[in-house]
């Protein structure tokens, strides 16, 4: 009943405490853009913005799935490995054409998602352990499938998918945008979306209210893995080669960062889809800004760390404890 039990004093921060995690990322993003507009040459040039968007698109796609998983109080560490798996699968089936190859890659994602979901919802493993297993195994399998070799991609359809443009923006950017809208609608408007935040907010309560908790959890991990597969295919199509040892490296960390910076609490029960996109953009621009001003990448990493800590700190103030 002493220090350990102390409740957070609620001062004037009550208002801020809600506002900051919800909208802080947008303010930070706007501020960064404004600062760059002044201090960085050609920052607002279309070419630069385009590059930034192209680079951030796969992170956004993976982070959308991650946000949904984190909304159920879970985490999916296997996304990078799933990207590699998709990258390894694509060249094998490319002989049948681009569509079957992509379909097989996505199917691979579904399988990994089912395994993740099964381990977590069925066996009852903790998400961090289950998906860690798939992180290790997934990339291993990808390397076995691809024989550890880099394969060039010459399929015209796939290359066009990775590099084609519509109205001045690459398909990948449009795809990321479309998936964002879809996931946002999924979370806000569908039964599945409403149920998944309830599962994250209080799992025993959701269980007792008769929600299909297992099905929701499995669905969430399948969604995450499929989105990661899409990102993996996109990566292959863009660089026109498949290297299972490189594709998707450390994407799980970028995705988690985007979600957390975007204001989704790791404790579950809330998913901020647009915040996640803003979080991914913010981290992308921070790195780009520092690189453009000739700062070493090690400094960029430290700045990223500071932003993550700040985001988690802001999120901590939220809520009614």
């Amino acid at each position: 009943m002493t220090a350990a039990t102390v409740e957070k004093p609620k001062r004037l921060t009550v208002h801020w405490g809600r506002w900051l995690p919800a909208y802080g990322v947008y303010v930070a993003l706007a501020a960064l853009v404004l600062v760059n507009a002044v201090i960085t040459d050609n920052f607002l040039a279309w070419e630069n913005l385009r590059i930034q968007l192209v680079q951030v698109a796969p992170v956004v796609i993976v982070a959308l799935g991650m946000a949904v998983v984190i909304g159920t109080e879970g985490v999916d560490l296997s996304v990078g490995a799933v990207m590699a798996l998709a990258a390894a699968v694509v060249p094998i089936y490319l002989g049948y054409g681009a569509v079957p190859a992509v379909a097989m890659a996505l199917l691979g994602g579904v399988v990994v998602g089912l395994v993740n979901g099964g381990l977590i919802a069925g066996v009852g493993l903790q998400p961090i352990v289950a998906t860690l297993a798939l992180l290790v195994a997934g990339r291993g399998i990808a390397l076995v499938i691809s024989d550890g070799k880099l394969k060039e991609i010459r399929n015209a359809d796939l290359v066009a998918f990775g590099n084609g443009e519509l109205l001045g923006l690459p398909y990948s950017v449009w795809l990321a945008g479309a998936l964002t809208v879809l996931v946002a609608l999924l979370v806000r408007k569908t039964v599945f979306g409403r149920q998944l935040v309830a599962v994250g907010g209080n799992r025993p309560a959701a269980q007792l209210a008769g929600l299909p908790v297992r099905r929701v959890l499995i669905g969430v991990y399948v969604l995450s893995a499929v989105l990661a597969s899409i990102a993996g295919v996109l990566a292959v199509a863009r660089i026109q080669s498949s290297d299972a040892s490189q594709v998707g490296q450390l994407y799980e960390l970028s995705a988690i960062t985007a979600v957390v910076v975007g204001g989704t609490p790791l404790t579950g029960g809330k998913v901020r889809v647009l915040g996640t996109v803003a979080g991914a953009l913010l981290m992308q621009l921070v790195v780009a800004t520092l690189i453009k001003h000739d700062l070493r990448s090690s400094i960029a990493e430290m700045v990223q760390a500071v932003i993550i800590v700040a985001a988690v700190y802001a999120a901590r103030e939220r809520g009614t404890r």
């Binding site: 004093p9 609620k10 009550v14 039964v191």
Partner: protein
Amino acid sequence: MLEAIDVSKTFPGVRALDSVSLSVRPGEVHALVGENGAGKSTLIKVLTGVYRPDAGELRLAGERVRFATPQEAQRAGISTIYQEVNLVPLMSVARNLFLGREPRRRGLIDTVTMNRVAAETLRGYGITGDVRRPLGQLALGAQQMVALARAVMVDARVVIMDEPTSSLEPREVETLFGVIDDLRGKGIGIVYVSHRLDELYRICDHVTVLRDGRRVHSGPMQELPRLKLVALMIGRDVETVRSEGVTGFSEESQVADSTPVLKATGLRSRHKLHGVDVAVRPGEVVGLGGLLGAGRTETVRAIAGALPLDEGTVEVAGRPVRGSTGAAVKAGIAALPEDRKAEGIVPGLSVRENIALAVLPRMSRAGIVSEKRIDEIVTRFMERLRIKAAGPDQPVGELSGGNQQKVLLARLLATSPKVLLLDEPTRGIDVGAKAEVQSLVDELAGQGLGVVLVSSDAEELVEGADRVVVLRDGTVVAELTGDAVTADGLLGAIAAAAEKEVEK
């Protein structure tokens, strides 16, 4: 000793405290009572430094004090015992008792001294077990005693107890009262918050009643008749309370000998249930009686599909229900959990989302949720159950206990259930909400629902139930029907069951 003078506190949209005064003298047990939302919790938080008052002042031993943080209040000698135990379950009992001020020798914790002193201290609180065991292995009541011992050890001048008996068993309550008497003798002032009137009259010297953020009464406990106290708390006059009764249950309804809407047969689950049969007819309220650990909660959970069964069947209106919560809800079973926070509310979600939680599939087409239909049921149930919230979008975690309970009931009713399972429906909620919940149960039974009621409050159980099934060690030991459904009858049945056990 501790005085609050004309304290006011406003939250956005709510005036939680409106110049409230409270004066606790040394050696006095001061009851602080009021409905949920009356301002009790806010006042306690002001006294303990969690909130700072917008107006008014605090005085400790005559001197004006301001607490910036709860730690400052503690250092000044104000200790608080909360409803939930806030200690470290995996650390030993002794470590918990001394957490943060362990006796030291050469910079290391002096475990020998610590364990010895802890064992001595705790004996005074009726805890005799090994103090080196992890705290989590103790019963909840014993954990609370450790918390109390800890609070008192910190040279407390004032101890604030917020519903200290809500998770204690009768024997432990006696021990607690003994400790309170000791504290009183030492000149420590005690603020005692409880919804159990019997306790208040037994232990308290003085009472302050809050309603809607205002002080409506303050005076010696014994001079305030029980009926008047209830009337003050809920803001109704004494005559209404007398005619409607204190518990809000009306007289038993006569249930026709119709076929049971719920029939549970031979429920078995290892170590918990050893063959329990319960049948409930439409319009009937069946109480489950028995002591703590007799299998009441387990029975309810088994029927709700939340406890895996080794054997036994559950039928609703003649149809068997597969053993999962989803199937149970679909079959028309709605369960109110014993632990509202752990298994009931989703605190971060709004009132609206919480009410609609179980019926989302029904409120949707092709997987897309219909906001309009949700709004309809939410509005309907918020009005019907008189849920007090800033609006449907307020997070449930911010509501008072009684209103959280009403939100849960709304969630259950939204599923149009045939059977209601209510496990301690009025635990930790104030008198007003209690009466409302109780009369609602009556009303629902009147509409033909079958209700299973679990309550540790014997009065509530016998007044609410038409029939009481008495459990012990996971089996049915007696059943009270008709005129036998009285508090005495219930206690008699439990006592007889216990004696049989001794004879064996």
